[in-house]
């Protein structure tokens, strides 16, 4: 039996439309019936307290984590048919950095899809990978062993690998966690330049103070969806209170939400 056809153009054109997504470990729902339609060409933050299921939501949307219920459509089709349009930037502590690989090896992984088994990586692949490294300011590290990188550098390498995939939608899991300020700035610039090219970006983010500076859309979750939409509309004091359940002090809230407090502007 086929599910009823979806005609809503917003969903069919959305890079990632999530409907009624529920994930549960045992009997304990981590993500409960979340709906979110990612606007095309947006730079969206997924924000919520620790343990709110932000990463799980993304992993379930990508099919890495099994979902209990819900529908996920990528440009109107199931994920399995569209995986070439999506690039995923995992949390950097998800891999073993002692793995025998150089920076270039990891970035080249983003090109594997283009290669058939009888083909070898050639000059042009190397050049593409180097160009992606250059965009994150790491081209001089191409032959470096990945185990010798700092946290920020690891994150940049992962971003370069995603760039190599030339995807329409890039999904990032906490790209700013534990990175230095220079790396944070470099990553934000890359993300914004991708948006300018018309790409869509979806990013789990934990630093509430930078949401306004970096993103144009926001999805606030705490197991359930709390609020979603353009930052100006959805990133409000009451929504934050609801998501964080009084864990934010009044002063803190004022600093996060007020539009004029952009530091260094």
């Amino acid at each position: 039996m086929k599910p009823p056809a979806i005609h809503d153009p917003a969903i069919l054109e959305s890079p990632l439309a999530i409907q009624g997504l529920t994930v549960s470990y045992g009997q304990n729902p981590v993500v409960y019936s979340v709906d979110f339609v990612t606007p095309p060409g947006s730079l969206t933050a997924i924000v919520g307290p620790n343990g709110a299921g932000k990463s799980t939501l993304l992993k379930a949307a990508l099919g890495i984590v099994r979902r209990l219920s819900g529908e996920v459509l990528v440009y109107g089709k199931p994920y399995a048919q569209q995986s070439q349009r999506i690039a995923y930037v995992p949390q950097r502590n998800s891999v073993d950095w002692d793995f025998p690989a150089t920076v270039l090896d990891v970035v080249t992984m983003g090109l594997f899809r283009q290669l058939r088994w009888w083909q070898f990586t050639r000059r042009k692949h190397r050049d593409t990978a180097l160009a992606c490294l250059a965009r994150v300011g790491m081209e001089s590290f191409a032959d470096r062993q990945i185990g010798q990188l700092s946290g920020g550098q690891q994150q940049r390498v992962f971003l370069a690998r995603a760039l190599a995939q030339q995807a329409d939608l890039t999904i990032l899991d906490e790209p700013f966690a534990g990175v230095d300020a220079a790396t944070e700035k470099a990553i934000v610039e890359v993300l914004k330049s991708l948006r300018q090219q018309g790409k869509t970006l979806l990013c789990v983010h934990h630093d509430l103070t930078t949401v306004r500076d970096y993103f144009d859309h926001v999805l606030l979750v705490n197991v359930r969806r709390v609020a979603a939409g353009p930052v100006d509309e959805a990133f409000t004091e009451s929504a934050l209170q609801q998501a964080y359940g009084g864990r934010l002090g009044a002063l803190q809230l004022e600093r996060i939400v007020s539009v004029n407090s952009t530091p260094g502007a």
Partner: protein
């Protein structure tokens, strides 16, 4: 010695040459799939597989012996071994996915039980009155002496097919080994790829029955990959080197065992593999013991050089004999310990580097600690240019005030 040399040169008869080639192909494919298994951190699984082959092998032996009078029919034994190894693998998977036991505990339980069962069956066979029972130990420790040409051909052909399969799926294997979740997002069915890896490992084990014997095949799937790891930091290079090491071990082992009749092939192959491993451990330019010692010496020199230069920059007296010798060797000080112009320039550079590093350590303590920078490497080789620019701006603000 002459016998060995003629075997090495493939001139000890058609059969020996064929067996040698078969063992080389087997070693190559074992090294290749073993590398991926090692990178997936599942080396112990190969142990489980090889031990789990024993009951199937024994049952197949009994079955063919009762049907034909002689149990030593290689294809039949291979199938029996494959079936019981598959059963063992299934048990491991079932236990580790349905209970709270980890994979290692499951492997331990399954491996010992099936091996115990196998030993009981083998003992039973030895008391039975059936044909070919004397040759059964050949499958435990490997014996290529009396191998038929057809058997050698079968082994070589299967091993070559395995090599081809590994080559075809090398990128999928690599992605799954490095980051299975990421691999999944690029459209790779990770469970199927994991399954395929185990299947190839199982095939290697079964094909290797007659060559290395069922227990020692483990060594051939683990030692060459570990040897390869010594020589390279790149994943597919490691796989290739492991494959060459495996082939070399097979080559040396089989030719050595042809010196005298009755020499078991399996142990000789494993010992050859170990010899390659020991040589790599000692001599590898990246991770070998000798290279480590040399690197330590270099590091010591670097520390003394940097400390000496900093002392020059800060006009402090130097007393350490080694430091003075190193500075003199670089031409940074004269015989009477007065700094030369090049010494002063180097001292200024060292001071500058030192300040940037210490600023980096103050600004990003976590990053610096994580990467283990001690500040001896040229900073330009360790940090991206934009980070260095930021440091320089902090250290020497453009409005002046820098000295």
């Amino acid at each position: 010695m002459d016998v060995w040399i003629s075997a090495l040169l493939f001139s000890a008869g058609y059969n020996t040459s064929l067996v040698t080639l078969g063992a080389m192909a087997l070693g190559a494919s074992a090294g290749m799939i073993g590398s991926f298994i090692l990178l997936r951190k599942r080396s112990l699984v190969s142990d489980a597989i090889s031990h789990a082959t024993l009951p199937g092998l024994a049952l197949a032996f009994i079955l063919t012996a009762t049907l034909t009078g002689d149990g030593r029919w290689l294809p039949g034994l291979m199938i029996g071994a494959a079936l019981s190894a598959t059963f063992g693998l299934w048990c491991v998977q079932a236990i580790s996915s349905r209970t709270r036991l980890g994979e290692d505990a499951a492997i331990g339980a399954v491996l010992s039980t099936l091996f115990g069962l196998g030993v009981v069956l083998i003992t039973a066979i030895q008391t039975m009155n059936i044909g070919g029972q004397a040759g059964l130990t050949d499958y435990l420790v490997g014996s290529t002496a009396g191998m038929l040409a057809a058997e050698a051909q079968l082994i070589a052909l299967c091993a070559l097919l395995l090599l081809l399969a590994c080559f075809m799926f090398r990128r999928e294997f690599l992605l799954v080994c490095f980051d299975a979740e990421y691999a999944y997002t690029t459209g790779i069915r990770t469970r199927r790829i994991d399954m395929l890896m185990l299947l190839l490992l199982l095939a290697v084990t079964v094909i290797g029955l007659k060559v290395t014997g069922l227990i020692l095949i483990v060594a051939l799937t683990i030692i060459p990959p570990v040897t390869g790891r010594f020589w390279t930091n790149r994943p597919l290079h490691m796989v290739a080197i492991a494959s060459v090491c495996g082939a070399l071990a097979g080559y040396l082992g089989v030719t050595l065992s042809s010196i005298r009749s009755g020499l078991p092939t399996g142990p000789l192959i494993v010992l050859s593999a170990f010899m390659l491993f020991a040589l790599s451990l000692l001599l590898s330019p990246r991770r070998g013991i000798v290279a480590k010692l040399a690197a330590h010496q270099r590091f010591k020199t670097q520390v003394h050089l940097r400390q000496g230069l900093l002392s020059l920059a800060r006009h402090e007296a130097i007393y350490d004999g080694l430091t003075l010798r190193i500075l003199k060797r670089h031409g940074y000080i004269r015989r009477d310990h007065v700094p030369t112009p090049s010494g002063l320039a180097a001292a200024r550079d060292a001071e500058h580097e030192e300040q940037l590093w210490s600023l980096y350590r103050t600004l990003y303590p976590d990053e610096a600690a994580y990467a283990g920078y001690v500040g001896l490497e040229p900073i330009g080789q360790c940090l991206p240019p934009d980070t260095i620019m930021a440091l320089e701006m902090r250290r020497y603000p453009p409005q002046g005030g820098a000295s």
